[in-house]
């Protein structure tokens, strides 16, 4: 097999570290970038740099934010007292699209999965529990993905939250099993939110 020049190889290696990109895709993207117009590629590089410099995580809910708090946490019209717990920032977008939730979020930044080396300590669980009192939280809606890892995370959180006297609900099933919230359409996810049910400890 032919060896690439060091700069090309470095590009392939870096691309190959991205989620869902295998070595072959990394090569394909690398050569696409090398063939593309210089200004287009530099615009991409700039977008990456600027996002990394200006975007961080909300100190309250761990959603993406440009500043100490995200737009949702900073919005005074959002109802305090209800928190919707999701796995990833992209799930915030999915729930927002339904238009049927007016409280705040908490982004765990993952789900319990021993295979991926993720336990409760690697997630923003402690941070969630610390919000309960100061924000006078009455209800927590567990909106983790409808797969086994999401379910495990929801069960784990339900127990922790019950111990602290918070009302815990889970989005209604009816979402495809093994799926991601991201792929649920707005109507289905909206219905799932409205049909949420209390979770037993």
């Amino acid at each position: 097999m032919a060896v690439y020049t060091p700069a090309v190889q470095r590009l392939i290696d870096e691309l190959g570290k991205l989620p869902g990109i295998g070595p072959k895709s990394a090569q394909r993207i690398a050569f696409y970038l090398l063939r593309a117009e210089r200004v287009d590629v530099l615009r991409l590089a700039d977008a990456i740099r600027s996002a990394k410099e200006h975007v961080s995580f909300c100190q309250r809910c761990w959603n993406v934010a440009e500043g100490p708090e995200c737009e949702i946490c900073a919005d005074p019209r959002r109802e305090a007292g209800t928190i919707c717990v999701v796995e990833e920032p992209r799930d915030v977008v999915a729930v927002e699209r339904t238009g049927s939730f007016h409280g705040r979020y908490h982004v765990l930044q993952g789900a319990i999965s021993p295979i991926a080396g993720i336990g409760p300590a690697q997630l923003k669980v402690k941070e969630l529990l610390e919000r309960l009192q100061p924000e006078a939280v009455e209800e927590v809606i567990l909106c983790t993905n409808p797969n086994y890892e999401g379910e495990a995370t929801a069960m784990y959180l339900a127990r922790q939250l019950h111990e602290r006297g918070v009302r815990v609900t889970r989005i209604a099933s009816g979402l495809p099993v093994g799926g991601d919230l991201e792929y649920a359409d707005e109507l289905t996810l909206g219905r799932a939110l409205e049909g949420r049910r209390p979770v037993e400890g």
């Binding site: 869902g20 295998g22 070595p23 072959k24 895709s25 319990i112 999965s113 021993p114 295979i115 336990g119 409760p120 300590a121 086994y148 890892e149 379910e151 495990a152 995370t153 069960m155 784990y156 127990r159 922790q160 099993v177 093994g178």
Partner: protein
């Protein structure tokens, strides 16, 4: 249900291959040993199940040096044309299209498009470890019900998560491990009870079919029986709790459907250890036949029957009994030599003439086109793949 035409590209030794089996009766796929006959059957079975019946790892399925393997089949399902196309990507996920529409959950496909595979290795179903026998049950139940396949896949996932958690715990039960173990155990109990109950129901349904298949193949009404034994008694969650200490210490899950056993008795004794090799072969064949019949009853169409060189293992009587037992199925038989007298072959296909093989010394057709004219459209576009 039958396959009208099958195309392979970059599948194992095949660069390209194309064949059109007979819609009814036996299609004999012939050629010397090592000419790729089994690979063709394997590709067809993989299209239905997305697993190799030879338990081969995924990466060997793709021809060396090729980016992906593609298997396409055009089927007739009770008059409805079904074009099933699947890409095996290594690394990466498979991609499946049915009539050009992407399929997200292939398990739904398996239940609508069953295949039965008989191989010389079937002896292991009787002689081998309990996992071989559980695999026959799970394969059969998955062909009948997509929701079983779903639960079975979930069980696998949860067992793997639990196994890794036990390893990470390395014997110590901290509060965090205890709370995390509890959530996996709740899911394991639910899925485990479901899988075991459905396997038990399947065994009850298989039992009469197994006894009659055995009678037909063995030519005698021998006393055979099938039963399912769980690895726990009572509720699974209670059993898991009772074994928690042991599981932590040994870092394995000691109870659950992955420890259950399908017991095959022959003349009142365990067939695994007490039957002769010839009897074991007959029992394995009877079990496969029983499963084939049951799937046909439930799905309403006979599974496509793939026989990988099995007739040569059987005496004339048993070989004929096998063929008679599956009157409505499309049969594809791979064999180095034609079957013995008394078995009618509808079509004979020389495997050396269906396409181009890796390392094949110029023989036969030298590469049939992957696509048969405009009839079935263009092959899947590799550039469109991303998962």
């Amino acid at each position: 249900m039958h396959v009208e035409r099958l195309w392979l590209s970059d599948w194992r030794c095949w660069e390209v291959a194309e064949l059109a089996p007979s819609a009814t009766g036996i299609t004999l796929l012939t050629g010397p040993n090592g000419s790729g006959k089994t690979n063709v059957l394997e590709a067809l079975a993989w299209l239905a199940r997305r697993e190799s019946f030879r338990a081969a790892p995924r990466d060997v399925l793709v021809r060396e040096g090729a980016p992906q393997a593609i298997v396409r089949g055009r089927f007739d399902s009770g008059g409805r044309a079904l074009l099933v196309e699947a890409e095996c990507n290594v690394p990466g996920r498979d991609r499946v299209l049915v009539n050009r529409q992407p399929v997200r959950h292939h398990r739904e496909l398996q239940a609508s498009f069953p295949v039965s595979v008989f191989t010389p290795d079937d002896l292991a179903v009787v002689k081998g470890s309990p996992s071989e026998r559980r695999a026959v049950l799970d394969e059969t139940a998955s062909s009948i019900s997509a929701s079983f396949a779903e639960a079975r896949a979930g069980l696998d996932r949860v067992l793997r998560q639990r196994a890794i958690l036990l390893r990470q715990a390395s014997g110590r039960l901290t509060a965090e491990i205890e709370d995390t173990l509890a959530v996996w155990d709740r899911q394991l109990s639910r899925l485990g009870e479901e899988v075991a109950a459905r396997r038990e129901a399947l065994v009850a349904a298989l039992r009469p079919a197994f006894e009659s298949a055995y009678g037909r193949v063995a030519g005698e009404r021998g006393s055979v029986s099938l039963s399912y034994t769980r690895s726990w008694s009572g509720e699974l969650d209670a059993a898991l709790a009772a074994h928690r200490g042991e599981d932590l210490r040994r870092q394995v899950t000691s109870v659950g459907p992955h420890r259950d056993e399908l017991v095959i008795l022959h003349a009142g004794k365990l067939a695994r250890s007490h039957a002769s090799q010839g009897e074991q072969r007959t029992l394995a064949l009877a079990l496969r036949l029983a499963a084939h019949t049951l799937v046909e009853e439930h799905v309403g169409t006979a599974p496509i029957l793939l026989l990988d060189d099995v007739l040569s293992e059987l005496d004339d009587y048993r070989a004929a009994a096998l063929i008679e037992a599956v009157p409505s199925a499309q049969v594809i038989l791979a064999a180095a030599s034609p079957p013995r007298l008394g078995i009618d072959v509808a079509t004979t296909i020389d495997v050396r003439e269906i396409g181009r093989r890796l390392g094949a010394t110029q023989g036969g057709g030298g590469g049939a086109p992957l696509v048969d004219g405009g009839e079935s459209g263009t092959p899947m576009c590799p550039a469109a793949v991303e998962s």
